[in-house]
């Protein structure tokens, strides 16, 4: 059975310009120990999806509908008190900017202890020992000194390690990582990605990785879901998606990223563009969400939204024209 099952998730926001359908009918699942990547550009709803899973969307102006079943229980039906017991314990989260998600006036040790004392009922001494253990686990040198330091005394990479330490302190079953390496430099990103891979092997938590960087996806995810304008447009295993993307949007995304080393062989001189922009989510969209920018668009697409169909082995895409079967892109 899947660890997390999301069914027809709809997260809408009331705005002065109308209802913003930030996430509009998204379903997916995550198995135990699995890494699922959610990919898409700004405004596609990937972060709102993750915030909805944790029920961190303020209501109002937001409204979450659908079902989020975690280990058999629907998180949307739980009273706040029970949800608090799950947050930071069974499901935890790391954010993009470690400077704004750590409390600047508390030592990092205190911030790690807090979650341990609250969820695991440890006393202060035991929590302190465990905090030092966690800092060691995430590769922070001199953990005994660092537990007494404040976030501003640490570098960006170290702060992100502290965030990971807090997130993993209670041995969560699911870790949601929202752009965990986007704010970091490449050499530090490489360190953090390696750390996440090592920890995944050791701790065994399932991961939902939210990112716009296809390189990071290829590096650590097993399955990918591509979002566009609040909908899921494609889902497949990582190998399958990069080998044979079916949705024109996914194909466009992959074509728009230059690959290191590609221009040296004298290959393509021009990047593929996706013309136009993301549609306004405050207006109802009839037909396919990608119709306005799609090279394959026809009247059919403008009138009828395509459903998610099986296009290959465990590979689904929402497109009227995407080829079925084993066609390489």
């Amino acid at each position: 059975m899947a660890l997390l099952e999301v069914e027809n998730l709809q997260t809408h926001f009331r705005t002065p310009g109308g209802i913003n359908r930030a996430v509009d009918g998204v379903s997916f699942h995550v198995n135990e120990g699995e890494t699922l990547a959610i990919v898409g550009e700004s405004g596609c709803g990937k972060s709102v999806t993750s915030m909805s899973l944790m029920r961190l969307i303020p209501e109002p102006p937001g409204r979450i509908a659908g079902a989020i079943r975690f280990a058999g229980r629907d998180l949307l039906q739980l009273p706040d008190r029970e949800m608090r017991a799950i947050r930071g314990n069974d499901i935890s989260m790391i954010f993009q900017e470690p400077m704004t998600s750590l409390n600047p006036v508390l030592t990092v040790g205190r911030q790690i202890r807090e979650t341990l004392m609250m969820h695991q009922g440890l006393d202060k001494q035991a929590a302190e020992v465990r905090a030092i253990e966690m800092l060691t686990l995430v590769g922070i040198p001199e953990p005994k000194r660092r537990v007494r330091e404040y976030p501003h005394q640490l570098s960006g990479g170290m702060r992100q390690r502290v965030m990971i330490a807090i997130a993993l302190a209670c041995n969560p079953k699911l870790l949601i990582a929202d752009e965990p390496t986007t704010a970091l430099d490449v050499t530090i990103q490489a360190q953090i990605l390696k750390l996440m891979l090592d920890l995944k092997r050791r701790v065994g938590a399932a991961i939902i990785l939210i990112t716009h960087d296809l390189g990071v996806v290829a590096e650590i995810a097993e399955r990918v879901m591509v979002m566009y304008a609040g909908r899921k447009v494609e889902e497949a295993s990582v190998a399958e998606l990069f080998r044979a993307p079916r949705h024109p949007y996914t194909q466009g995304l992959l074509g728009a990223v230059p690959r290191l080393g590609s221009s040296l062989s004298g290959a393509s001189k021009r990047l593929a563009e996706i013309p136009g922009q993301v549609p306004d989510l405050r207006k109802p969209i009839t037909g396919c969400v990608f119709a306005g920018r799609c090279p394959l668009v026809t009247d059919l697409c403008r009138q009828y939204a395509p459903g998610l169909e099986e296009k290959g082995p465990r590979h689904i895409a929402a497109c009227h024209y995407a080829a079925k079967g084993a066609v390489a892109a």
Binding site: E41, S42, P141, S155, G156, G157, M158, D185, V186, T187, I188, Q189, A190, Q191, L193, K194, H212, D213, L214, G215, V216, V217, A218, E219, V238, A239, F242, G252, L253, L254, G255, A256, V257, P258, R259, L260, G261, S262, S263, L264, R270, L271, A272, E273, I274, P275, Q277
Partner: protein, 330 residues
């Protein structure tokens, strides 16, 4: 042979910092500490490196957004760094800039028409009011925005469109060199591709030279002719793109390239994971500034600072590895 369009000689920029909240300004940030390079007409030179390596400071020094601590910046044979205000004005026209964030670099109260007209008026490029209008309209065509949009204000545009306005504003002064300071870094993948293609088209069309400051190595490889890799205020390697990306010499360049995740699942790669973080530019390490993280560092690296030396026809590396012993003459 005419001089290169831009020459930067041993540029230094140190910022004083206070020790403590009210303390004396006793310490200095060695943001840029002896950087030299040239840019030819119509060429793209990229400055790459991680946060705090000084790449943006170099760009700002060339624009003379502040006075430099030492060194020279020479545009077409004339020095920018000590130019008088009147001489500087003419040089400012020839060197323009596109910033990273199109949200904060455009005045929200101005219409696009006025944003584009300002540099044309400022540098007295239009002969008449009609000429001004024609120039503004043609700039919109150049960056592929509809002319109807001229009466709108920046907030009515998406990020990619705003960056097009920023580029049009830079082009309005008819520059020879544009400093692109992380000009595509804040944009989404599909929009980034549009802007990268636009910059390349414009370079061909107008023979522009670009100083492309970026941390995105894949985009750099796609755009650039030559690359300068910076680390803690110094250039550690300077070479044509082919050499940098196919056969990087400096251990830092090698680590930087190997750290980029490739969009190819299962790609056989073994990233060089560097130890620790970039040291502080207030107290940079002795000797080679990279020695604290370098996997190949030996005793000499900790004591003696390596100088940039030619290793190929146009390739320069600052590293003691493979360096001929001192006193050796070919």
């Amino acid at each position: 042979m005419s001089p290169p369009l831009l020459q930067v000689n041993d540029l230094k920029k140190h910022f004083p910092v206070r020790a403590g909240l009210f303390g004396p300004r006793s310490e200095r940030v060695y943001a840029v500490d002896g950087v030299s390079f040239e840019i030819e007409r119509g060429e793209t030179l990229s400055l790459v490196g991680e946060s705090g390596c000084g790449k943006s400071t170099v760009g700002r020094a060339i624009l003379r957004l502040f006075d430099v601590t030492a060194g020279q910046v020479i545009l077409d044979g004339q020095r920018i760094d000590d130019a008088s205000p009147s001489a500087l004005r003419q040089m400012r026209r020839r060197v323009q800039v596109v910033f990273q964030d199109p949200f904060s670099s455009l005045n929200p109260r101005m219409r696009v028409r006025d944003i584009l007209a300002e540099p044309i008026r400022n540098f007295g490029l239009a002969k008449s009011a009609a000429d001004l209008d024609a120039r503004v309209a043609s700039l919109m065509d150049t960056v592929r925005l509809p002319r109807e949009a001229l009466n709108r204000r920046p907030h009515e545009f998406s990020g990619g469109q705003r960056q097009r306005i920023g580029i049009a504003r830079a082009l309005a002064a008819e520059p020879e060199l544009i400093v692109c300071d992380e000009a595509v870094s804040a944009l989404d993948v599909s929009v980034k591709a549009q802007i990268v293609n636009l910059l390349q088209d414009l370079q061909r069309e107008f023979g522009l030279a670009l100083l492309f400051i970026s941390h995105d190595l894949a985009i750099v490889e796609h755009m650039t002719h030559r690359v300068a890799v910076m680390y803690l205020g110094k250039i550690v390697e300077l070479a044509p793109k082919q050499e940098i990306f196919a056969a990087p010499s400096h251990p830092y360049t090698q680590a930087l390239l190997s750290a980029v995740p490739l969009p190819e699942p299962g790609a056989a790669r073994s990233p060089i994971i560097l130890r620790g973080d970039v040291p502080s530019p207030i107290n940079p390490p002795s000797g080679c500034r990279f020695h604290t993280r370098c996997p190949f560092a030996f005793d000499r690296c900790r004591i003696e600072e390596p100088q940039l030396r030619a290793t190929g026809s146009d390739q320069w590396v600052a590293c003691h590895l493979d360096e001929p012993p001192q006193g050796w003459r070919p």
